[in-house]
């Protein structure tokens, strides 16, 4: 009797009943494969791995319950309607019934995904937990060219842009951005919202090319769900900080493609709005809020007011009140948020034309800084005396204000990751900046700490020491910077001194030898004669000893593995292999580092 023999009339049991192959599932649902795919994507249904693959090893299995879940969704009926509708249109066109075709095309069957979002993410935290992919995708599509005739509708790209800006505005406003990283692939951000770490990637602000090797149907299905999800998430988030959700933006700023800034200003004004203002006041308040956010501190409200009046001709006095209220209101932040909020406090940034504006407009306010840019709609212009840092990314800076520092954009990112104001020397215009390190790597766990990470750690320690004695100091940042500068300088000085001493000593030694009458060639010969022998002997001896020692160690390890069960032994070996690989990687890094250093020193010579 075959192993899986089932008597006729007996129901299937176990894995055969629980799981269904994809083909069978498609047949069961009576839809096409493309629609099945779309349904799976929207419903979040994924294949499972049955313990026993009854139908064969190379098939995809879905859980029967998942398929039933799809089968009972009204969406499946909707898709059928869409199919029918498409047929009708086609038929009308074929019969040259232009009128009917137009009428049909005007009202295609539509569907909403809100129930699906709630079904997949019953609580808000669930949604936040799964937001990584959503954000990355939305940001990716926001960077695609919004051109008619491409495979992606312009409307959707604009929607993606809007959603991503709304999200960024929220993060920036609540100061919940934690880490940033410029990689070759784009810029990574990590934010913490309601205790969830959310990481997303935005492509560099350059034209993306639509390639042919991707299936846009699949991606657009995902995007469809993600757009809905992010819309609702944004709604909830905005609601949580008392801002009206579909934000009404200043059309002027929007036209200037400074949407993020417009949004920020909107939020800054909008937060007071729910408390009791007329409908018409909403937009105004929003704008005030934007202002608030941009400068983010009450003591700078003057500036903000000026901006406000400048931007909003139809301003009303109540708005200002809200503004002030708002700035003093939220004090419920946790420590980290506070730390983030005050990182760039009292610093004023100015962005040159060539730096990635969107990213910096997002980051700097998120860490409490004030920022402006070169171009229209900017809150203040380049000649502003209070600007402390100007971010430039060009080989040389022709006109220089002495009152400010000219740094490369990487400085901002590194400061944010280190949570201290780093010394700017390395980042000045025209220099190759120090290596940009990933904040997502646990260097200790990795076993290799890059040089610059150590430097940053030292600076951080110095900053902490400086901070502790004077909490709440007004010009804390300044003193911090100064202290750090001192620290680094002193370090460098100490190193230099040491080097000098060494050189001096060497010089003295050589002098002595010279006096003794040993010519240099002699000396080197002698050294050469002497060294190999002794070295050899020592080497071989130590080598043997070491060998034995290693052997003994290895033996003791081997002996204890002899009694392990096969399963455990396999696991043990796998762990060992993993460790070995890690070690190799670190070794490789060290080797490369050494090579680079030696080649650099050779070049210097």
């Amino acid at each position: 009797m075959p192993k899986h023999y089932r008597p006729a009339g007996k129901k299937k049991e176990g894995n055969a009943a629980k799981y269904i192959t994809r083909t069978k599932a498609v047949n069961y649902l009576q839809v096409s494969l493309a629609i099945f795919r779309k349904l799976c994507i929207l419903k979040g249904v994924f294949p499972r791995q049955p313990k026993k693959k009854v139908e064969g090893n190379h098939k995809t299995y879905y859980h029967m319950k998942d398929i039933a879940f799809i089968a009972h969704d009204p969406l499946i009926e909707k898709f059928r309607q869409i199919k029918v509708h498409r047929k009708k249109v086609k038929k009308a066109i074929a019969k040259k019934n232009r009128d009917l075709a137009d009428r049909l095309l005007n009202r295609p069957p539509t569907y909403k995904l809100d129930k699906l979002v709630l079904e997949r993410y019953p609580t808000f935290v669930d949604a936040l937990r799964d937001l990584d992919d959503c954000l990355t995708m939305v940001h990716l599509f926001a960077a695609l060219p919004a051109v008619d005739g491409e495979r992606v509708e312009v409307k959707r790209i604009h929607n993606c842009r809007r959603l991503s800006h709304e999200w960024q505005a929220y993060i920036s406003r609540t100061h919940s951005l934690r880490k940033t990283f410029i990689s070759v692939k784009g810029i990574y951000y990590q934010a913490e919202v309601q205790g969830q770490k959310i990481t997303w990637l935005t492509p560099h602000a350059l034209q993306q090319v639509l390639t042919d090797d991707v299936d846009f149907n699949v991606m657009l299905s995902f995007l469809e769900f993600y757009e809905t999800l992010l819309g609702f998430v944004n709604f909830k988030l905005y609601h949580s900080i008392n801002v009206n959700y579909p934000p009404i933006l200043d059309p002027r700023l929007e036209a200037l493609a400074a949407e993020l800034y417009a949004l920020c200003r909107y939020m800054a004004t909008g937060s007071g709005r729910v408390i009791g203002n007329s409908e018409s006041g909403g937009a105004i308040k929003e704008k005030e809020d934007e202002n608030n956010k941009a400068s983010s501190k009450a003591d700078e409200s003057e500036l903000r007011l000026a901006q406000l009046q400048h931007q909003l001709p139809a301003n009303e006095p109540g708005a200002l009140m809200h503004l002030v209220e708002e700035s003093t209101a939220v004090d419920t932040d946790d420590d980290e948020t506070k730390e983030c909020k005050s990182l760039f406090k009292n610093l004023k940034f100015y962005l040159s034309r060539e730096v990635p504006r969107e990213s910096l407009l997002f980051i700097i306010p998120a860490f409490g800084g004030t920022v402006s840019w070169e171009g229209e709609g900017a809150p203040f212009n380049e000649v502003d005396e209070d600007i402390t840092h100007q971010i430039v990314d060009r080989p040389t800076q022709s006109h220089v204000f002495l009152s400010r520092e000219y740094v490369q954009p990487q400085w901002v990112f590194d400061c944010v990751n280190a949570r201290i104001i780093l010394p700017t020397e390395g980042y000045l215009v025209g220099r190759v900046p120090p290596p940009h390190l990933s904040p997502f790597v646990d260097n200790d766990a990795e076993g290799y700490v890059p040089e610059y990470a150590e430097t940053i750690k030292r600076l951080q320690a110095a900053a902490r020491n400086e901070i502790l004695p004077l909490p709440g100091d007004e010009d804390l940042d300044n003193s911090l910077v100064a202290a750090m500068m001192d620290r680094t300088e002193s370090n460098e000085a100490a190193e230099k001194k040491k080097k000098l001493e060494m050189l001096e000593k060497q010089y003295h030694d050589e002098l002595k030898m010279e006096i003794d009458g040993v010519t240099f060639s002699n000396l080197s010969n002698k050294k050469a004669d002497k060294s190999p022998d002794t070295m050899d002997k020592d080497d071989t001896k130590s080598y043997h000893e070491e060998d034995e020692k290693n052997q003994a160690e290895k033996d003791s390890a081997d002996i204890s593995t002899a009694l392990m069960s096969r399963k455990k032994l396999g696991l043990y070996k796998a762990i060992e292999i993993g460790k070995e690989r890690k070690r190799d990687k670190v070794e490789l890094l060290k080797k490369r580092k050494k090579n680079a250093e030696s080649s650099a020193s050779a070049k210097r010579r």
Binding site: R107, F235, P246, V441, T561
Partner: protein
């Protein structure tokens, strides 16, 4: 009033070109005004007006076909004058100079400034710009549309029937007009009614539906936990994408950038192993290009999300040390052999076998160089050498202390010789035993060649047991009278039992499944163990029946040893595994130790201490603690203690034999490097 001054001149010109249709409408009105102003303002001329005048002159020129071309070169290809400075000659034969070429920017600016610029056409022949009049422009546009050039031409004049004939007023068909031509259509009416009804009932909506934003507070009240449960199966969240490391930075530190050779070497790797991302360094942020694989990677992620089967996997993050079994400390298990104490040198070829005398005073060894040596254990002195002239494959010392007899397999056959150790009396007895009366009682009558013939060995005063085929193994019964030999290829006569005192041999098994590898006696009972390649069979000698069959699960058994208690057996195999059988417990191995990387050559138990050892071709010998408890409920305790190294490999062979000292926790190992080593604690 400069402007009006200029207009005065223009008026003068305008008069001369009165017939030009160009200066109609506003122009002519202007003219009138200007003429007035001219009268009012009196004389005056401005430099700006000159150009206007010139332009007007040109216009009037071009509009009239009668004006002869200034150029007189005639109908010649104009490229003849391409490189010349002139375009031709005027009527007086003077060269007409080329004008300066206008730059593109100028053309563009002109285009932008002058709304009528589109009317200007460059006349190549006369090298001048001609402005087309309104009429001309109209004609051109009509031509372009495919109409007749002049608007006053009627393309469809009324038909004039020039010919008159009689009955010209009749229609083609003389049928009367049908009624339906005069009555409104019923079907049309029905259709209209249908449409009207559909519109009224809202089935047909003519305006486009409004798009309203459908966002609302989806997760409103989260206090009700019952609602917050996800329906259906347990949700397995997709694993998050890997976070970028230092090497993905746009400006990684130098050590993360692979050298060119390394990048080249990636090409040699398998596709799957090849690193997908090669770090690259950019000097500044502005030089970072768009990542061309961004879309592709997003797509791959999508595929992963909806195509990859998801399972929950427990990722164990454990210390590998915790996987190792808890073993008692080695200190508590002392004594056991640890370090090499003595080396017995003398053989010139690999020492294949060794055996220790029961008292532990003497050690016999056999080697490929055709010698058997007896050594004093304490000193390492070689006491005696027999040159037997043939490989000594195996050697075994009679376990009885008063019978100093060595059994050695030399070449094909077994040799029993007097070891010539011990006191006179003992030696005498041994000699007695080894005497054999020359006769042929073994003459089997069945015509078959006898399995064994006992022959006297003249040279060493011993006995040779001539087997019908090559012998591989010999083992003594603990009392020292019986011994067994194994002839692997001997079929039914593969395992033989011999009695020394009676000089008698027989083969106890009528049939033996499998190829026997080794046979040995139980250390205290009348039991007999035969190891074939995969199994160990235990026979009761008295009842002559099979008691047990131990399944080793090994590929090929190479050696066997019985615990002094008799209930535990260890088996070494050619795949480097050592199996411990607890025969009371099961017929399957209680524990399998995979300790050697190459064949195990021999395994052995210590007679007194709870130790066992294995030697292998990988030049190591393992010493393990193997405690057997008298309490049946307690499993034997096995602890690997020490790896003994020291032998060097020769011909790919390592340690060929190992034996414990009968009384001390010492281990002798015989190596392929022709040295015997003694390891002590």
């Amino acid at each position: 009033m400069g402007h009006s001054d200029g207009e005065h001149e223009l008026e003068g010109d305008g008069l001369s070109a009165e017939d030009s249709s160009w200066s109609d409408g506003g122009w002519s009105e202007d003219d009138d005004e200007e003429s007035l102003s001219f009268e009012g303002s009196g004389s005056g001329s401005g430099s700006g007006s000159d150009s206007d005048e010139a332009a007007a002159a040109e216009e009037s020129d071009s509009s009239e076909d009668e004006v002869a071309p200034r150029n007189t070169v005639g109908d010649v290809p104009l490229e003849w004058y391409k490189d010349e400075e002139h375009i031709g000659y005027d009527i007086d034969g003077r060269k007409i100079k080329k004008r300066d070429r206008e730059g593109r920017i100028e053309v563009y600016l002109k285009n932008a400034d002058d709304a009528k610029n589109w009317r200007k056409i460059y006349d190549e022949y006369n090298d001048e710009e001609v402005q087309i009049t309104k009429e001309e422009a109209k004609i051109i546009s009509r031509l372009l549309k495919g109409k007749t050039p002049h608007a006053n031409v009627d393309p469809y004049p009324d038909y004039v029937d020039w010919f008159e004939y009689e009955d010209k007023g009749h229609p083609l068909s003389s049928a009367p007009e049908p009624k339906r031509r005069f009555v409104p259509s019923k079907w049309e009416q029905k259709k209209v009614v249908k449409l009207v009804r559909a519109i009224r009932n809202g089935w047909i909506k003519l305006d486009k539906p409004k798009e309203e934003s459908n966002l609302y507070l989806l997760w409103g009240d989260e206090t009700d936990t019952a609602d917050n449960k996800r329906q259906g199966l347990s949700y397995i969240p997709a694993p998050k994408p890997n976070l970028p490391g230092h090497e993905e930075s746009y400006n990684p530190s130098v050590e993360y950038i692979p050298t060119q050779e390394e990048i080249d070497s990636y090409q040699l790797m398998y596709e799957e192993d090849r690193p997908k991302f090669i770090p690259k360094r950019f000097e500044s942020l502005r030089s970072v290009p768009a990542y061309e694989k961004a879309l592709r990677e997003g797509f791959d992620r999508c595929l992963d999300l909806y195509l990859c089967p998801r399972t929950r996997k427990k990722r164990i993050n454990i210390d590998p040390e915790s996987l190792k079994p808890k073993l008692p400390s080695k200190k508590d298990l002392r004594p056991y052999p640890k370090t090499c104490y003595l080396e017995f040198k003398g053989h010139t070829s690999p020492v294949t076998s060794i055996s220790v005398e029961t008292t532990g005073q003497w050690l016999a060894s056999g080697s490929r160089d055709g010698t058997i040596r007896v050594w004093e254990v304490e000193t390492g002195r070689c006491l005696k050498v027999w040159n037997v002239g043939g490989d000594v494959r195996h050697i075994a010392w009679n376990p009885s202390p008063d019978r100093p007899i060595l059994a050695a397999i030399v070449g094909h056959d077994l040799l029993l010789i007097n070891a010539e150790v011990g006191c006179e009396e003992v030696q005498m007895r041994a000699k007695e035993l080894l005497k054999i009366c020359e006769m042929a009682p073994q003459d089997d009558t069945d015509g078959k060649k006898p399995a064994v013939r006992w022959m006297k060995h003249e040279k060493f005063d011993g006995i040779t047991l001539i087997h019908h085929k090559a012998v591989s193994n010999v083992d003594w019964h603990f009392k020292g009278d019986y011994f067994t030999t194994v002839v692997p290829s001997g079929d039914t006569r593969a395992v033989l039992l011999h009695q020394l005192t009676k000089k008698h041999s027989h083969h106890p098994f009528r049939k033996l499944p499998g190829l026997p590898v080794a046979a040995t006696f139980h250390p205290s009972q009348k039991m007999f163990f035969v190891a074939t390649k995969k199994f160990v069979r235990v026979y009761d000698l008295q009842k002559a029946q099979l008691v047990k069959k131990l399944e080793s699960g090994l590929r090929e058994i190479s050696s066997i040893s019985i615990h002094p208690g008799g209930d535990n057996v260890i088996v070494g195999s050619k795949d480097g595994k050592l199996c411990w059988f607890d025969t009371d417990l099961s017929t399957r191995p209680y524990k399998t130790l995979k300790i050697h990387s190459k064949d195990i050559t021999n395994v052995t138990f210590h007679r007194k201490y709870p130790l066992f050892a294995s030697s292998s071709e990988d030049c190591t010998a393992y010493v393990c603690h193997g405690m057997v408890y008298s309490d049946l409920n307690q499993n034997p305790l096995i602890v690997p203690l020490e790896i003994l190294r020291g032998h060097s490999s020769s011909d790919g062979r390592g340690v060929l034999d190992c034996k414990f000292h009968p009384k001390q926790p010492w281990l002798f190992t015989a190596g392929a490097d022709s040295v015997i080593r003694l390891y002590c604690d």
